[in-house]
C-alpha cells in the first residue's frame, strides 16, 4: 500500500471512519444505533478494514469476513450490502491527494469488494449448511439407528 494512503489515513482516520461507519449503519431499514452490539461489531470490523487498507498490501480478510458475516443474514439485498465498499471508496476519494492515489484507492477497493463478495457467499452457504446440520442433529438417534 502506498505510503500516501498510510499518511492520509493516519491524519484523518477518525473523520473517515465516522463518515464510513455512518453509511454502514445507514444500510439498515432505520439507521442501526452505533451503541448496539450489532452497531459495535460493524464498527469494529470497519475499523479493521480501514486499518488494513492503510497499512498493508494484504487484504484485511478478517475484517472483511466479520463484516460479511453480519451482512449475509440481513434482510436487505446483497447489492445493498456490498455498497458499503463503494461508500468507503467515496469517503476515501474525497481525501485523495492526487490522481495516482485515487487510482490506487479504486483498485484496492475493487479487490476488497471481490473478497467481500466471496466471503458474503461463503456465509450464505454456511446458513444452508447450518440448516442441514441442525436437521441432522435433531434426528441424531434416528439416523444412528438407521445406519447401525
Amino acid at each position: 500500500m502506498s505510503t500516501t494512503w498510510e499518511r492520509v489515513i493516519a491524519e484523518r482516520r477518525h473523520d473517515i471512519l465516522r463518515r464510513w461507519q455512518e453509511k454502514g449503519l445507514g444500510l439498515f431499514a432505520e439507521k442501526m444505533s452505533p451503541a448496539t452490539p450489532m452497531g459495535e461489531a460493524m464498527a469494529d470490523a470497519m475499523e479493521m478494514i480501514l486499518d488494513g487498507f492503510a497499512t498493508g498490501d494484504d487484504l484485511p480478510r478478517e475484517g472483511i469476513s466479520r463484516l460479511a458475516r453480519i451482512l449475509a443474514v440481513q434482510s436487505f439485498r446483497p447489492s445493498r450490502s456490498l455498497s458499503v465498499f463503494t461508500a468507503l471508496r467515496d469517503v476515501l476519494l474525497a481525501s485523495a491527494p492526487d490522481r495516482d492515489a485515487a487510482e490506487v484507492c479504486r483498485k484496492r477497493i475493487e479487490a476488497m469488494t471481490f473478497e467481500a463478495f466471496d466471503s458474503f457467499m461463503e456465509h450464505r452457504e454456511k446458513i444452508y449448511q447450518l440448516k442441514v446440520e441442525e436437521s441432522r442433529d435433531r434426528m441424531y438417534m434416528q439416523l444412528r439407528r438407521s445406519v447401525s
Binding site: E30, M38, V73, H123, S135
Partner: protein, 549 residues
C-alpha cells in the same frame, strides 16, 4: 421493583437526546407506514393442512406468507375482534398491559430482535403498539383515557400481516419487562396475539407439528413408546462403553419413588443425548428410585406457544402419569419453557396434585418447600443440594478440556429466578468458568433468538440476527478467556445455540450442565476414564493416567 429500571432523569435525557419513532422523527410518516416484506429467512412455514386437521384447528389450507391471497376465512376481522374482547375480559393483566404504557422508551433497545435487526417494529413498545393501535380504534373510550397518544387504525389485512410477522419475531423472553417501569410484559401480548391468530389459521408448522405429535404419541417427534425406550437403552450402552458402568433406568414402573420427565430432545437429539447420559449416571451414582414414562415422554410443551387450552392439555399428562404410577413426586430435567409452564401454570391449570407428596430428597433429606405446590423439582436444585451435602464424588479435572461460560435460559432465569444453582454446580464440576458481561446474564440474559417455537430451519437468518447479542457476549469471553464451551440448562438452547455458535463463534461448543456432571462423576466400578461422554479425549487423562487426589 427491578434494580435495572432507569431513573426518571435518565429517561428524560434519553427521550430528549435520542432519535425515536415515538417522537415522530420519521419525517411525516407514521411508524406503521414503515415497510416490511416477507422474504426467505424472515418467516416460519405455516402449519400443514393435515397437522391443522389433526388438531381440529380452524382454516386448514396450503398457503405461504409470500402469497397475495392468505385464504382467510370470511369474517376474519370479527373473529379476531371477538377473540380479543373475550381475552381482555378474561385476562386483566392483558388489559393492564395495553392500557398502561407511558411510552417512556425504556424497553426500546432491550429486545434482541431489535438489536439484531435494527427494525423499529421490533422495539417492544412498538410491537405492543401494533395491537394497541387497533385496540384504540375499536375501543374509543380507551383513546379518551389515553389522550395524547395518537394512532388508531383499522384491523385490515396489512395490519394482520404485520401481526403475523412481528409476533413471530418475539420469543416471549420477557427481557423487556425487566426494564419497564410499569411492569409491562410484552410477552403476554405476544402470547395473546399468537393465540388469536390461530383462530383464522395463521400459524407455524414448527410449533403445531410437535403439538400434534405430542397430542398423539406424547413427544415432539411423535416417537412411539418402544422406540423411546430403545433410544435410552442405546444411551445406556454408550455409557457402558465410555465408563464401564451399566446404568439401569426403568420405564413405566409403578411404585417408583420419583417420576423423571425431561424434554424429548434429551432422548433424540445431539447434543441433548449427552445430557441424558449425565442424568442416568447421576441417578445411578446416588441409587435413586426413579422411573421414566413413555407416555409423559416430553417435558417440553409447545402448547404454550399455541393456546392456553393446548398448553393445559399437553401438560396434563405429567400429573396423569405421576398418579397412574403412584410416585411420590416428579423430578424435571433441563428445559426452559417446560419450567415456565410447570412453575407458573401447572398447579392452577391441572392441579392441585394432592395425590403427590411434598418433594423430599431421598439422599439428603432436604425438603423442597418451593415445590410444595407443583410437587415437581428442578434437576439443578436437586443436584446442587446433593453437592452441597457432599453426596457426589466429583472430579472436576475431568472437564479440564473445556473452558466454560454459562447461558441463563430466559424461562428459568427470568421465569423462575434460578441463577445460583446452575453456577454452583458448574463451579463444582469444572475448573474453568467465566461469566459473560453482567448486562447479558441472569435476569438480563439475552435470548438464544430461537425460543417460543421459532427454531425452524427456514428461519435461520432471523435466528442468527435475534441471537446475535447472545453470540456477541460469548465472543467477549472467548476473546478474553479463551472460552470454548457454552453451558446451558435448556433443551431449545441445546438445539439452537450450536448453529448460532457455528455462525458467529466457530470453535465454541454447546453443553448441557448435567453432561458436565456426568463427565465429572467418579462412579463405583468404573474403568479408567480417558474420554468424556461425547467420546472426546479428556485433558490430562490420556492413556488413562488419571492423577488421583
Amino acid at each position: 421493583m427491578s434494580k435495572y429500571l432507569p431513573k426518571q432523569s435518565e429517561l428524560v435525557k434519553e427521550f430528549e437526546e435520542k432519535p425515536s419513532v415515538l417522537k415522530g422523527d420519521y419525517e411525516g410518516r407514521e411508524w406503521w407506514e414503515m415497510p416490511f416484506e416477507f422474504r426467505e429467512g424472515n418467516f416460519c412455514f405455516p402449519a400443514k393442512p393435515e397437522v391443522i386437521k389433526d388438531l381440529g384447528f380452524p382454516n386448514p389450507r396450503k398457503w405461504q406468507p409470500t402469497d397475495d391471497d392468505w385464504k382467510l376465512p370470511d369474517g376474519w376481522q370479527k373473529i379476531l375482534k371477538d377473540a380479543m374482547k373475550e381475552r381482555l375480559k378474561k385476562y386483566r393483566s392483558l388489559k393492564l398491559y395495553l392500557d398502561s404504557c407511558v411510552r417512556c422508551g425504556a424497553c426500546a433497545d432491550k429486545c434482541h430482535f431489535f438489536l439484531g435487526t435494527g427494525d423499529p417494529k421490533n422495539m417492544p413498545v412498538l410491537r405492543a403498539e401494533l395491537v394497541r393501535s387497533v385496540y384504540r380504534n375499536d375501543f374509543p373510550m380507551v383513546e379518551k383515557i389515553l389522550k395524547g397518544f395518537a394512532g388508531a387504525r383499522k384491523l385490515d389485512e396489512k395490519v394482520l400481516r404485520e401481526w403475523y410477522m412481528y409476533f413471530y419475531q418475539c420469543t416471549e423472553c420477557r427481557r423487556c419487562s425487566v426494564f419497564c417501569p410499569m411492569g409491562i410484559d410484552t410477552a403476554e401480548i405476544t402470547i395473546m396475539v399468537r393465540e388469536i391468530l390461530q383462530l383464522v389459521g395463521l400459524n407455524n408448522n414448527w410449533i403445531l407439528a410437535p403439538v400434534s405429535n405430542c397430542n398423539r404419541t406424547g413427544n415432539h417427534l411423535g416417537i412411539e413408546p418402544h422406540t423411546f425406550v430403545q433410544n435410552i437403552e442405546s444411551l445406556v450402552d454408550d455409557i457402558e462403553d465410555v465408563t464401564g458402568v451399566k446404568v439401569n433406568p426403568t420405564f413405566n414402573r409403578k411404585g417408583a419413588e420419583i417420576l423423571f420427565i425431561t424434554p424429548s430432545g434429551d432422548v433424540f437429539g445431539d447434543p441433548g443425548v449427552y445430557t441424558m447420559m449425565g442424568y442416568l449416571l447421576l441417578f445411578h451414582h446416588i441409587g435413586l428410585d426413579y422411573t421414566i414414562s413413555t407416555y409423559a415422554s416430553e417435558g417440553g410443551n409447545f402448547g404454550f406457544f399455541t393456546s392456553n387450552d393446548m398448553m393445559k392439555k399437553l401438560n396434563a399428562k405429567m400429573y396423569h402419569e405421576a398418579k397412574r404410577l403412584g410416585v411420590k413426586w416428579i423430578l424435571g430435567g433441563e428445559c426452559g419453557h417446560m419450567w415456565r409452564v410447570v412453575h407458573q401454570y401447572m398447579d392452577t391449570m391441572n392441579g392441585p396434585a394432592d395425590f403427590l407428596e411434598e418433594p423430599v430428597s431421598p439422599v439428603t433429606g432436604t425438603k423442597f418447600t418451593n415445590a410444595r405446590a407443583t410437587k415437581m423439582v428442578h434437576i439443578a436444585e436437586f443436584t446442587a443440594d446433593l453437592i452441597k451435602n457432599g453426596k457426589l464424588r466429583l472430579d472436576p479435572k475431568r472437564n479440564d478440556h473445556l473452558r466454560t461460560t454459562f447461558h441463563d435460559s430466559c424461562n428459568v432465569a427470568r421465569g423462575m429466578g434460578m441463577f445460583e444453582e446452575p453456577r454452583y454446580i458448574l463451579n463444582k464440576v469444572c475448573n474453568s468458568f467465566h461469566e459473560m458481561p453482567e448486562n447479558t446474564i441472569r435476569e438480563q440474559t439475552f435470548c438464544c433468538g430461537s425460543g417460543s417455537g421459532i427454531n425452524a430451519e427456514e428461519y435461520m437468518e432471523m435466528r442468527m440476527k435475534g441471537g446475535f447479542p447472545r453470540a456477541n457476549a460469548v465472543r467477549h469471553v472467548r476473546e478474553k478467556h479463551k472460552v470454548d464451551s457454552l453451558v446451558t440448562i435448556c433443551a431449545i438452547d441445546r438445539a439452537s445455540l450450536p448453529p448460532l455458535m457455528r455462525y458467529w463463534n466457530p470453535g465454541v461448543s454447546v453443553y448441557g450442565l448435567h453432561e458436565l456432571v456426568g463427565n465429572a462423576l467418579v462412579m463405583d466400578g468404573e474403568k479408567k476414564r480417558t474420554e468424556d461422554l461425547r467420546e472426546d479425549p479428556m485433558a490430562g487423562f490420556e492413556d488413562g493416567e488419571e492423577d488421583e487426589d
